[in-house]
């Protein structure tokens, strides 16, 4: 199996398992927020972007309208457009591959691909993570949806607390540095202030407007907040207990600097002059 010798494919597989597994929590929370199993599966099969899917069911579960849920999910999906530009420049897919690549463009597949330096590895990483997560995410969504629909009163199991935890876990890896924390705090405050005055679901859109205004006028890193939910190359940054350590299989592919270099370019180089 030559494919398994590829570091990017190995990273892609490990991130697929980690990400796919939490499809269980999405499936369970979705059916307890009032969606049926088919609606839950439609989100995982067609929308296929964890943050937006959680946003949709979060708004519906909080009593918000369908249009508010759709708006929150759509605004959260904007970053996938940016990832698409990066991946298109990097992988240059042609024909039907472009349309399939687009559907598989999410935080994790982008991070797995852009973390590599060799073009062939970038391509393998993207497809391994993209296809792997798509298959496992949908499988585990179904598992969660079936398990969740037999649970009875979701509050008794603390599932509303699980939703809170899920959103914080999606936010957490993006809070690197002072500025993203400040943005998060300002948007959280705007939300709390808006809650009594506007219909359920709308406070989230108020926060989105506040965040967009901050983004328009500020001059920080150009990819602030564009971080994957799961960091595939975490081991290389030296602040991890080795949970995603891939150091053992790189000898034949390139040095550690190569990998960090790829990541560094994505952060600082793909958008010329964006970083100070």
């Amino acid at each position: 199996m030559k494919l398994l010798a590829s570091p990017a494919v190995r990273v892609g597989i490990s991130i697929s398992i980690a990400t796919g597994l939490y499809g269980v929590s999405f499936g369970a929370l979705s059916v307890t927020s009032g969606l049926d199993i088919w609606q839950t599966m439609a989100l995982s099969l067609l929308l296929f972007s964890g943050g937006s899917q959680f946003a949709f069911i979060g708004v519906v579960g909080g009593g918000g309208s369908g249009i508010a849920a759709m708006s929150a999910a759509t605004l959260l999906g904007m970053r996938n457009g940016i990832y698409g530009m990066q991946l298109n420049a990097l992988l240059r897919p042609t024909g039907w591959r472009k349309y399939v690549s687009a559907q598989l463009t999410i935080d994790e597949s982008t991070a797995t691909s852009t973390g590599q330096t060799d073009p062939a590895e970038q391509r393998r990483g993207f497809w391994a993570a993209g296809i792997g997560i798509y298959v496992l995410w949908n499988f585990f969504t179904a598992v969660g949806a079936f398990a969740g629909s037999g649970l009875g009163d979701p509050k008794q199991w603390g599932l509303d607390g699980a939703a809170v935890a899920a959103f914080l876990a999606l936010l957490w890896p993006r809070l690197k540095g002072r500025e993203p924390v400040a943005i998060a705090v300002v948007c959280a405050l705007a939300t709390v202030i808006a809650v009594p005055f506007v219909p359920a679901g709308v406070p989230i859109l108020v926060a989105a407007v506040v965040a967009a205004v901050i983004g328009w006028f500020s001059h920080g890193r150009s990819d602030e907040g564009l971080e994957p939910d799961v960091e595939p190359y975490r081991g290389h940054h030296g602040h991890d207990g080795g949970r995603h350590s891939h150091r053992g299989n790189e000898g034949d592919q390139g040095s550690q600097e190569d990998h960090d270099g790829g990541r560094y370019r994505r952060r600082n180089g793909t958008v010329p002059g964006a970083d100070s």
């Binding site: 980690a18 990400t19 929590s25 609606q39 296929f48 943050g51 949709f56 979060g58 579960g61 909080g62 309208s65 849920a69 929150a72 759509t74 959260l76 904007m78 996938n80 457009g81 940016i82 698409g84 530009m85 990066q86 298109n88 349309y99 687009a102 008794q156 603390g158 509303d160 607390g161 699980a162 939703a163 935890a165 914080l168 876990a169 943005i183 998060a184 705090v185 300002v186 948007c187 705007a190 939300t191 709390v192 809650v195 005055f197 219909p199 359920a200 406070p203 108020v206 989105a208 967009a212 983004g215 328009w216 150009s222 990819d223 907040g225 991890d240 793909t270 958008v271 002059g273 964006a274």
Partner: protein, 103 residues
């Protein structure tokens, strides 16, 4: 039926965002503003969704067991727990606090 409509529209628009990235000319990448807004909006929306799910109850604000879930999740994340463990910590904290009588 109406929820189906908004759900499918959300799916179409999500795919549209993704596809747009593959078809816009590369020079758009040179404008850092768009990717900055995508980034700050991601942070803002997730922060807002966290807070709404923790303290909003319809149009009212409430301090209930969900605040315990928020605290438990933060502790789990600070300890570098994986996503699923964080979610279970949140659920466990909320369920436990309710059992103890705090709604």
């Amino acid at each position: 039926m109406s929820l189906w409509f908004w759900l499918l529209l959300a799916c179409v628009l999500a795919y549209a965002w993704k596809l747009v990235g593959y078809f816009v000319p590369a020079r758009f990448l040179e404008d850092p503003r768009m990717s900055r807004i995508a980034g700050t909006m991601t942070i803002g929306l997730l922060a807002s969704l966290t807070v709404v799910n923790a303290v909003a109850s319809g149009q009212a604000l409430a301090a209930d067991a969900r605040l315990g879930a928020l605290a438990a999740a933060a502790i789990a994340l600070a300890l570098r727990a994986p996503f699923l463990v964080v979610v279970l910590a949140g659920a466990g904290a909320a369920a436990l606090l309710r059992m103890l009588g705090w709604n």
